[in-house]
Amino acid sequence: MSSFQLLNAEVLSRLKPFGILFEKSLTDLIRGMRTYSKESPEQLMVFLENAIVECKNELATTDLETKAMAVLKLAYLEMYGFDMSWCNFQVLEVMLSSKFQQKRIGYLGAIQLFRNEQDLLILATNQFKKDLNSHNHVEVGLALSGIATIVTPNLAKDIYDDVVMKLNHSKPYIRKKAILALYKVFLQYPDSLRMSLQRIIDKLDDNETSVVNAAINVVCEISKKNPKIFVAYLPKFFLILEDTKNNWLIIRILKLFQSLSKVETRMRRKILPAIVDMMMSTKASSLIYECINCIVSGGMLTGESSKDKDIARKCIEKIINFFQNGDNNLKFVGLLALINILKLYPQFIRSIPEVSPIVLDCLTDRDSIIQSKALEIAQYLINEDNINEVFKVLLIQLIPLDDRLIVPDKLKVDIITKIIDTASQDNYSNIPNFKWYIAVLQNALKLTVLSGNYASRSAAITIAKAFGKEFTSLATKVPSIRRPLATLLLELAEDPNVIDGAPLLLKDVYWILGEYVNELGGVDDDDDEQDDQDEEEENNINIIALGKKIKLFNTLINKEIDTKLDNGVNAQFPISAKLAALPNHGVICVVIQSLVKIYLSIVRDYMLIYGKGNKLPTTQLNELQYFLFKLIGFLGNWENHRNYEVQERVISWLEFLRLCLEAMNEGDDSILQKLEQEEIEYYKTLRIGDKKKANEGEDEEEGEEEEDDEEQEEDDEQEVDSSVDPDYEQFSSSSDEDSIEETIKPQIPVEDLLELEEEEKELEKNPFSSQINDIVEDSNMEKPLPVLLGLVLPSFFNLYTLKPVARNAQLHIKVPEALDLDVPINDLPVVDLALDEVSSAYNLFDSNREDSDSLSEEETAAATENSEIMRKERMQRLKEDPYYIDTTASKSRVNKSKSKLVEAATSALVTSPKTSTSPGLDEQTLDLTNKKPKKSKKIKKEKVLVLTEETVDNGGGDEDRINERLSPMEKKKKKKNIFLIDSSTLENFDLNAPESNEEKSGVEYEVNLEEIRQRLEKQALEKAEKTKVKKSKTKTTKSDGDKQKKAKKKKASIIE
């Protein structure tokens, strides 16, 4: 073979000068790429494609010289991201060349292009053996380098002996390479570790530093997984450490000590002083850093003893030097080391005066990576006195330095979680004033969730969830903050930006607004003064609160109005429409409940304002009825939702609400239709009026118009504030009761009038109000509220108060012995009819699928149609089926009370087990909650009751149990790392275990060989043929013949 090739090469080289160009040289390729890349990317791509095709052709030739050049070119092209696995066989050919030049290119190509080529490398085993045993040490070195990168388990088994032999090579150059290559062999073929670990350890006594270095390296890598094996050799490592001056080696030994120290604690006593000495004496920053790492991460500082603290102090002093240098890399690693020490000894952040300025400085660094790192220890920095300052600093970091720069997502997430975590630390003990904290959260929200600018969705989701959780936790734990919080959340719920940008946040927003909807009372501040206001003013406040609630209610559910008005782009209730189509079913589950709660609260307010006893004037009752009608209509959007939970919840509620509606209107829809028509008319005139106004002059009023979406978004906040005040004044100014009633009677438009200018004229213009007035005069009767609304509905929600519960509380509740979750609660109704339908429908479907080829299109269409009809029929039947309804109805009651629990659980809070198990106590507990200040803390600015988390006492160890539960999930996550070299095979490797039987696999591999060879050959041929379509047939057959010849020879050499 070789003589033939040589001849061929010779012929080619002689032909070249005469202008027959078979190959484009590498330089040409690179030049070409450079010129084309200046032009256009498309042209470059065309050029590259052509170049690859050329390489393919060159690889198909028999001339090794040409092939080698092609491989080199491909190795270059690989940088541009092409997948080159198709040329592996040819690379192997070049690699096996007898010429060093070609061999070198071949190995280079292999290192660059091969990825775990199990089958391919079997073919070359013998050649590798030959290279490893070459008389020329340069060739051996090349082979070792190549093998270390491309080795596979089978190859590792086969060449293991040869590599081990190289450990005693006369040249240190080969010895060190052999040691390092052997590590890769260990990884692929773990059993070999048992056989030759001792030989690696022997190499620690080698005369050459580079060999010792390599051996230490391998030991260090193995020790990361299995430190125990090396404990016995500690004295030896220590000697090497003391002998050498080579910092590379020292750092590696320190790394080794770091892993050993975790299993052998006794070594610390001897080694620690040496490391400290080294740290103090050396000038190399990398070594100082490694010393600190070894001491801290190696767990050498554990106790609170003064000795340990002294060492920690010394380390910190060294680290402080890193920061004074001005080099940002030193700053970064210094910060890392500092973090590790402070995690052990947080007290140093105060006791050493230089530390806290350093941390603060890092927090404001322009480099977001350093900022993020510094955040990790920010909580040690914070106490009640400086929390204000630190939070301010953190918030400023959320503002981009200039318009062009965006704050990285990771930093945003880090800052937000840090703010929330530090604030809620120790049950909010660091918060001086909760209103201030709400303001902080509000600002943070504006800078993150509301500003948009996310690179990734996951960051947005994390932040939104964090905020949501924090709001919920605040609302449940701090009763006094509920009112301002609810006001803030109301803004969020009415801001269309939020539902677009962070729908997940709304889950908690809706929950809180539902649960604490009654906190939406009038003016937020100065609640103390409100206590001694007279009845009348209280009434006014109630009216304002009611206005807010109705506005929120309408914002969420008035989608239908827009559809009826055909508003299109200028929707008046964009949020409602978006909400109905929201993809996050978790949010929908919550909002269903919340809407009912809001409605309940509206009912309550009506009773407070207009009610006499349990009676209401008919007008108001009609309005309530209309609200309910709208609510049912809106919830109906989800009746066929594809998510099971949403459907279940909606249907349960709908059943109940429809009963309520029936109880109210006694089957008479005329009032509803009338009211609906009126509302639509109202919004129509409103729109026309707005348009006129807008045309007349785009004054300051424009910002307050509801249709003008953008303006509204911006001014939303001010709108609410500004609209409340004049409104409030107006109500209070009209002192006699009648006039109040008159203004309030048209309750539905009130909330819109809040936004618009509230002028008497407009009220008069509004047909709705005038008509209602008529009705009022006509029928000033009073009717009692239906029991379902007045008593049953509130009992769903108000029976128990929600209290924060520690997350371990649930663990302590014993599962009742009688409880068997596998036993069905009630027997499944025997619905034989329906079952039959189902099965036949499925059969139809199945046959449909299987024979879809044979069935004509018409038939399939008919079949699907048929099944569709059947399905509908079934639905209809199920609707009428008494059993079916019975189960849902009886379940729905249970669900309603339960769903509250479920809901609370989702926000990490469960209703107190104590109260839930003793229903008789509910009234008492209601009273007790206010008298039972579990933890009232005296704070500088504000005295606030923060409810502590309730738990059931049952001894310690909760955290462990929780962690136990959590850990499987975390473990799963960790496995994702693509960069991790899989050295798990070495983990807990038992050196003394008997050798496993390898003969079997050996046989297997003999059998496979032939097959693999043929397959590879075939692949190569196919590829060659593809590229050669244009070439003459004779040439193809010739090269085919060649390959077969070669392959035969190779086969012979392998089998030998």
Partner: protein
């Protein structure tokens, strides 16, 4: 202590050399390189040269128009990784004689050879600069012998 990958990036975002000590698919490689390219080109001169990327640390340093980028374990010594980069640059400087980007583009296989003598599967195999250069020279010599033989035939 092992390096997972090393690649060279021009200021225009072009890959000039890449070396992977990990068997991952071409697609993954391209993805990682693309992501790191955007991250690193956005960094400003005075910022620190260490990034945390996925579960590893990426250490980079800029020499003239080229970024040298190295991926290492998160518990590795960042300063040492910087040192490895520096060592590589010094070696290339010695070999090409005042190395520039064009040298690396046109003589990329030489750069790979140096790298292969400096690192073996991501581990520093030789801390002496002289030794590395000597070995590369020896290999070149052997290559030339081949050519010489060629001519003789």
């Amino acid at each position: 202590m092992a390096i997972h990958f090393l690649f060279l990036l021009s200021r225009q975002g072009k890959i000039r050399l890449n070396k992977w000590y990990q068997t991952i698919s071409q697609k993954e490689k391209t993805k990682v390189m693309r992501e790191l390219t955007t991250l690193i080109l956005l960094r400003r001169p005075k910022m620190c040269n260490v990034l945390e990327y996925k579960d590893i640390k990426v250490v980079y340093r800029r020499y003239a128009s080229l970024f040298f980028i190295v991926g290492c374990d998160s518990d590795d010594n960042e300063l040492l990784s910087l040192e490895i980069i520096h060592r590589f640059v010094e070696l290339m400087d010695k070999m090409y004689g005042n190395v520039c980007e064009l040298d690396i583009i046109f003589g990329f296989e030489k750069a790979y050879h140096v790298l292969d003598e400096l690192l073996l599967d991501g581990v520093v195999q030789e801390s002496l600069k002289k030794e590395v250069l000597k070995k590369v020279a020896q290999q070149d010599e052997l290559e030339n012998m081949d050519e010489f033989e060629n001519i003789m035939v």
